[in-house]
């Protein structure tokens, strides 16, 4: 794995992520629709390779308040995954899931737990897709949730990517029910896991 860094693994891994983006977002949409018991549409997901500096801009500014759901992954591959969405979009999903309007600005215990569940289901949909296309066993940990500035949340996956290069790979998906929301999905396998994923797909 001497020559493996994000710059040269990118092209092939990009294709993998595109495929994963399509299938994963499709599954996530179905899961969301079932959970919310309404119709949910999605646009074709976009896979992006960004400089760290461009990240905040994509989310609408480094200081934009986002909800980030973060899980560790174990099994045949190890690493972490994150799902991010704007705080207002998160509130919308939670109120819909709970069948009531949220009171106040902050998320209470119930709302937090509902949001973790949403994150669990969405990231689970992506991980299942990855597991299916690679035939690798992937087990997610219990989700951790934080609501804070986009830049601060993104520092976590950015640092993980930072050990490999100066860019970050993410999948952007737009979900629509009666409300358009942007979801960002970031998968950070560790170095050996990149190779395992590519090998499993016959790309190495």
């Amino acid at each position: 794995m001497d020559d493996l860094n994000l710059e040269n693994v990118t092209e092939q891994y990009f294709d993998v992520l595109k495929e994963l983006g399509n299938i994963g977002a499709g599954n996530a949409t179905t899961a969301l629709a079932q959970m919310l018991q309404c119709k949910v549409d999605m646009k074709v997901p976009q896979v992006k390779l960004l400089e760290f500096q461009e990240l905040g801009e994509l989310m609408g500014g480094e200081e934009k308040i986002m909800a980030g759901i973060y899980l560790c992954v174990e099994g045949d591959i190890t690493g972490s995954i994150m799902f991010l969405l704007a705080k207002d979009a998160a509130r919308h999903l939670v109120s819909k899931l709970m069948g009531m309007e949220l009171q106040g600005e902050e998320f209470g215990e119930m709302e937090t737990s509902a949001l973790k569940e949403i994150g669990n289901i969405i990231t689970g949909a992506y991980l299942n897709s990855l597991s299916t296309i690679t035939n690798l066993k992937i087990y997610p940990s219990i989700p951790a949730l934080t609501i804070d500035m986009a830049g601060a949340i993104l520092s976590v996956p950015a640092i993980e990517f930072g050990t490999l290069g100066d860019k970050i790979l993410l999948i952007q998906t737009q979900f629509t029910d009666d409300y358009e929301l942007d979801g960002f999905f970031i998968l950070v396998p560790d170095l050996e896991s990149y190779a395992k994923i590519l090998t499993a797909l016959g790309l190495r």
Binding site: G56, D148, A152, S155
Partner: protein, 161 residues
């Protein structure tokens, strides 16, 4: 008219009074602010990782606490600041997510803080104040004019260290 200079992730910028320098939404990264009170030359480094020697791909020297701080000091000296007068303040290094299994990456905020302190000590630059750790993001603004380091967080009162 004074200018507010923005520093991105894994980046650093110099500035001279009356200008100020800022970085938005620091999470586990650390914002290392240094100034020379006499010339009022200052700078801010947004470091992501503690140690450049632990990573093979370490071309971007701004990214690491050890090389980033050394480069900031070098550039400040080039601009006319004197190392012997320099003082520093640091902020950031939060642990954004609470996990039970505390592996190295999860603790990276704390390690960034430790590495920044060690590098500043090695360069003999005293640390006048720090606001680090905890679990929330910070936007910081540094004023080389008087050394004020303003810290803003979500749902918290602004503070100046």
């Amino acid at each position: 008219m004074s200018e507010l200079i923005k520093v991105g992730m894994a980046d650093l910028k110099l500035c001279k009074s009356p200008d100020s320098v800022t970085t938005l939404g620091l999470g586990s990264c650390v914002g290392v602010a240094i100034r020379d009170p006499q010339t009022k030359i200052g700078g801010l480094a947004h470091v992501m990782l503690p140690d450049s020697t632990a990573i093979r791909n370490n071309v971007n020297i701004y990214k690491f606490a050890d090389t980033g701080i050394a480069e900031l000091v070098r550039l400040m000296e080039e601009a006319g600041a004197k190392r012997s007068r320099m003082v520093a303040k640091i902020a950031g290094g939060a642990q954004m997510f609470a996990f039970q299994n505390k592996n190295d990456l999860v603790r990276v905020g704390q390690r960034n803080v430790e590495a920044s302190i060690a590098k500043l000590k090695e360069l003999k630059i005293p640390i006048l104040a720090q606001d680090t750790g905890d679990s929330y993001g910070r936007t910081v603004i540094f004023y080389p004019e008087n050394g004020d380091y303003v810290i803003r967080s979500v749902g918290r009162e602004e503070k100046v260290i």
